[in-house]
Amino acid sequence: MSFPILTLITFVPVVGMVAILFLKKGQDNAVRYTALTATAIQLVLAIIMLFAFDFTKAGILDASTFQFVEKARWITIPNVSWIGTIKIDYFVGVDGLSILMVFLSAFVSFIATLSSWNIKKMVKGYFMLFLLLDAAMMGVFVSLDFFLFYVFWEIMLLPMYFLIGIWGGPRKEYAAIKFFIYTLFGSIFILLTMIALYFSATETVNGIQLHTFNLIELTKASAYSATGILSPQNPNNWRMIAYIFLFIGFAIKIPMFPFHTWLPDAHVEAPTPISVILAGVLLKMGTYGILRISYPIFPEITRELAWYIGLFGVINIIYGALVALAQKDFKKLIAYSSISHMGYVLLGMATLSVTGITGAIFQMFNHGTITAMLFLIVGVIYDRAHTRGIYEFGGLANKMPVYTGIVTIAFFAAIGLPGLSGFISESLVFIGGFGSTVTRTLTIVGLLGILLGAAYMLWTLQRIYFGKFNEKWSFMEDLTPREYLMFVPLAIVVIYLGVQPGLAIDFMNTSVKTFVHFLNTAAF
């Protein structure tokens, strides 16, 4: 048994949470530093994993090429009346699909902790929930067992509900419950599919055939018994229905049109760090879920529905951008821009090509860092002015030059300017999209996104930062050192990956190639 790094990286926040539990009330700074330490350890572990990661191992379909694997029997219930023995594994591992998400998750959590510094209300409770959220997110990205994945997926809801519902804005209750119920609504679809898959497939453990939640076993056609409801041999449409169910469950999280309306509400009400986590990491769980679960388990359906996935991607791109254009609330505008940018991920996934899927995963990562910056940017003025109305500002550039410099980098990264990371991922999505005959037309339409994206971003830049300065805000100060500290690492990553994208692409290349080959050829 090697060093259990994935267990550590997942549960370090839980340790931090427990430590905070023992701190006395009023020791707010101790609480903050404990949380910061926990997320810092997590980040260091993530960086160690990046260095230890073997580029040549594909993962995806082969348990032996996953890395940092840990596997143990979690739950065993022998001889349940007609089911037989139920076994659930604690099975975690990482491959090219998830390694960047693991790093992103740790990185954004760390930045969000820094940004949580000025949370003043019930500090102890806040950071405990925050760390629980962090652990759950990490768990989702490392799970290789569907049941375990689902557990983490659901755990994540609970802290999120309270974090929005208690520390949020004026309509926090509405936003929190909407988020909770909407995701739960999706979870039920996932749960149903999960159970159906469980009963349809088996794996052989010590010579005994047992039903399984093992995500890798589930990708093998041979794992399904001919009579199973989701067996590929089954001539009915159950696999299609299961796929759509699963897809709806994940699509709500992305969020994909028309399931997206919880997002603007949640963002507008959530405190800044929670928005950062929400947009930076949580949304990726949706697309990651599709890539990790839907795609390899149902490759034949994926091929069949690829055009529709791309179509929804393009709708997200265009619709999100157009609605963003009409927003008057800065944060809501950024929320809709997230919807637009997640559309590129869907479009890239739909291409089923190496360039497209690489672009999609890379876009997930880049959107994580860029959107984190964007929400932090909103947070900076909201902290000072307690309003986010785009039309209430103007001419901040002269008053806050450093801040405006950061804003310019982040906005142009969101626009997809070359030299910044967003350009590479968007371009790869377009290259893959145009290269695939299935998504060619969709890609041409999707190109409109780069125009509309520039339109709402530059217009916002002008309205808030350029033009005449509104004397009402003359008390506003430029960035504090702490704020500066949260922006700089993000900006460095955004610029560095824009100039050296190979660094990120090498991590996923082997996995993506194996994945794409499987998706296009798997006979199910």
Partner: protein, 716 residues
């Protein structure tokens, strides 16, 4: 490898301004003299460029010097093969000439700005922006592939955005910057799509590889339509950057930027990038694509000239004049005279930069007055500015002994020859009419600004010749607007070194997609295979031709037509330019005819020109207004319908749960109460929960599941 040190030097030339940008941006505030560093970088760049250009043109003239490096790689992809994303630079003769033009004008603008921008609160910020602009522009010049072209294309867009909006406190400046970026993005979308077509087919971005593939008859998706489409889409990028109709609207607004910036970016270099790119991709443009390009260019040059005639803002006149001259260059590419397009690009870069810097000198002297109706008589006050300005005006009007005559005459001859060869005279007619208009509006400008009596005495009295830092660049550029630097014979550009150093490229599009006059004259019996070998070896053939005396760029038919066109073109163009100058003198100098009278006589025509053909108004009402209106409508739709359904489902669930609660209390529970008291307690408990929200939502989940089940029933 021969000339590898030239590659190293080119890379240094490319990256030095970037270093300048970063340094001055980060530390410019702390060290107020740091802008000198940026100027030093440009001086170094200029010297290095002179060396590189000399070496390339006179030592390695026949060799293409190029270098590629893998940026990132996908390794071996089944079905595609090795997929590397390469970046690289190449030095051709045209490249190094352009390199010189960019560095020289950038250098002069750096010097000029020390005076012009003196006292600006963001002085060093300004210099750092000039640095990133120079870097981006040099990237476009040096690239040997479409990806890098697009990358630097966008970066140029960024620097242009930053510099136009440099005085962002002014709404008009902020607006103009945004408009420039967005209008350019429209073109870039098309260009990117064109690049995607090529990449999808050839799995590379490299110019040479793609051109060679097309030369082998391997056209995109095996379809002639796609090849033409690729050409026109790539051209869209040029339509944006080089401000061609219908995307020309951003350039006049871009005059909101500081005037030296207008000279550098919006007159001499960035806007020429579109034309430069067309000279690179010329070989893959089919006859249909070329026709589109020629017509767009010709129409743009006419449209802009017709507007320039009535403008009163000195910079607006120059801006429309730039659009018009860019139209000329684009038109020249379209009719196949792409060498003259590039020639004109270079001569225009110098004299137009001179015109802008001269106008900057006037504006500086007049304390930021740009309205020509407030000027007049400045000749006496500002002799250096006047005489250099006049030189440039003579050059742009196409008067012999000046550089503009050489290139303009050449490209007009190209349109004339095109008319002779294809019977398509539209382009030529536009070209000659515009020659007349150009001379007219330029002399109108000179007369209104420098001649006659001062119209605003107070401003006139304060005016003075500008300092040396501003006049030396003017003089330098004026000297470069004389013919002698390009050819010994002021009436024959083809006799000069400049024309003969430009590479001659043979089109690689399939024979049946070329203009007749571009078809290779192969004997009838030669097979297609032989054609392929010619195409394969065209690179070496081409480099041999450079130094040679016989230029076989096109067929003999074309050479013949060009020869035939030479004399009539010269006569016509001199005549028309002279006529334009004469009219300008009659109306504005001698006032024999009143301009106001003319305007009153044809008010409709006058207003149409003054208001720029109402193109902006049209766009505002349709595309911009439409998009904004649509987005507002979508936002309401999102709020009321999409979210309405979600909230409606929640309300419905609450309603259902209320009803079931009522049912529970009064029917079920009532029944139970009726039968047993103990059940009443249970009912009481349930009643309490009835307002709980979570349960009600779970109910909607169940209901929705049933609904979905019914929906998907057909699949069973």
């Amino acid at each position: 490898m021969p000339g590898s040190n030239l590659i190293t030097l080119s890379l240094i030339i490319l990256f030095l301004p970037l270093i300048g940008f970063i340094t001055v941006l980060l530390f410019g505030k702390r060290f107020s003299k740091l802008y000198n560093f940026e100027i030093g970088i440009l001086s170094a760049n200029l010297l290095l460029t002179l060396y590189v250009a000399y070496e390339k043109l006179f030592v390695f003239a026949n060799q293409k010097i190029a270098m590629d490096a893998t940026w990132f790689s996908f390794g071996n992809i089944p079905g595609i093969g090795q997929l590397n994303i390469d970046l690289g630079i190449e030095l051709t003769n045209i490249t190094v000439m352009m390199l010189f033009v960019v560095n020289l004008i950038s250098f002069l603008v750096h010097i000029y700005s020390t005076e012009y921008m003196k006292g600006d609160s963001r002085f060093s910020r300004y210099y750092s922006y000039l640095g990133i602009f120079t870097f981006s522009m040099l990237g476009i010049v040096l690239t040997d592939n479409f990806l890098m072209l697009y990358i630097f294309w966008e970066l140029v867009g960024l620097s242009s955005y930053l510099l136009i909006g440099f005085w962002y406190e002014k709404d008009s400046a902020a607006n103009a910057g945004k408009k420039a970026f967005l209008v350019n993005r429209v073109g870039d979308m098309g260009m990117w799509l064109g690049i995607l077509i090529l990449f999808t087919n050839y799995h590379t971005f490299k110019f040479d590889t793609i051109f060679a593939q097309i030369g082998l008859g391997n056209i995109p998706f095996g379809s002639e339509a796609w090849l033409t489409a690729a050409g026109i889409l790539l051209f869209m990028g040029a339509v944006g950057k080089s401000a061609q109709f219908p995307l020309h609207v951003w350039l006049p607004d871009a005059m909101e930027g500081p005037t030296p910036v207008s000279a550098l970016i919006h007159a001499a270099t960035m806007v020429a990038a579109g034309v430069y790119m067309l000279t690179k991709i010329f070989v893959i443009l089919s006859a249909d694509a070329l026709t589109v390009i020629a017509l767009v260019g010709a129409f743009t040059s006419f449209l802009a000239a017709s507007i320039a005639i009535t403008q009163n803002d000195i910079k607006k006149v120059l801006a429309y004049s730039t659009v018009s001259q860019l139209g000329y260059m684009v038109m020249a590419v379209g009719v196949g005279a792409y060498t003259f397009a590039f020639f004109h690009l270079v001569t225009h870069a110098f004299f137009k930069a001179l015109l802008f810097l001269g106008s900057g000198s006037v504006i500086h002297a007049m304390h930021h007055e740009q309205d020509m109706r407030q000027m007049g008589g400045l000749r006496k006050k500002m002799p250096i500015t006047y005489y250099t300005f006049l030189t440039a005006t003579l050059a742009i009007s196409g008067i012999p002994l000046f550089s503009g005559f050489l290139s303009k005459d050449g490209l007009l001859a190209g349109t004339y020859a095109f008319g002779l060869l294809t019977g398509h005279w539209t382009v030529a007619i536009f070209g000659f009419v515009v020659a007349f208009m150009t001379a007219f509006y330029m002399f109108r400008l000179v007369i209104m600004t420098f001649h006659g009596e001062p119209r605003n005495k107070e401003k006139y009295d304060h005016a003075h010749e500008t300092p040396k830092a501003m006049t030396i660049p003017l003089i330098t550029l004026a000297v470069l607007s004389i013919w002698i630097w390009y050819t010994p014979n002021p009436f024959n550009p083809e006799a000069g070194w400049f024309y003969n150093k430009m590479e001659v490229k043979t089109t690689v599009v399939p024979q049946d997609m070329r203009f007749n006059f571009m078809k290779t004259e192969a004997p009838e019996h030669e097979t297609a295979e032989a054609e392929k070998t010619t195409a394969e070896t065209h690179e070496t053939v081409e480099s041999e031709q450079v130094e040679g005396t016989t230029r076989v760029m096109h067929s003999e038919m074309y050479e013949h037509a060009m020869h035939e066109a030479h004399l009539p073109t010269m006569i016509w163009s001199i005549l028309l330019a002279g006529l334009g100058i004469l009219f300008a003198y009659i109306i504005y100098q001698w006032k024999k005819i009143s301009a106001d009278e003319l305007a009153k006589k044809w008010p409709w025509l006058y207003k149409f020109s003054l208001n720029k053909w109402y193109v902006d108004e049209f766009y505002d009402k349709t595309f911009i207004g439409g998009t904004l209106e649509f987005s507002r409508w979508l936002s309401i739709f999102d709020n009321k319908v999409v979210d309405g359904i979600v909230n409606g489902a929640a309300t419905l669930t609450r309603g259902v749960s209320a009803v079931s609660g009522w049912f529970d209390t009064y029917v079920v529970d009532g029944l139970v109460n009726f039968t047993a008291f103990f059940s009443g307690v249970l009912g009481f408990g349930l009643k309490k929960i009835q307002n709980g929200k979570v349960q009600s939502y779970v109910l909607v989940v169940v209901l929705s599941l049933i609904l979905l089940f019914v929906m998907f029933l057909p699949f069973f």
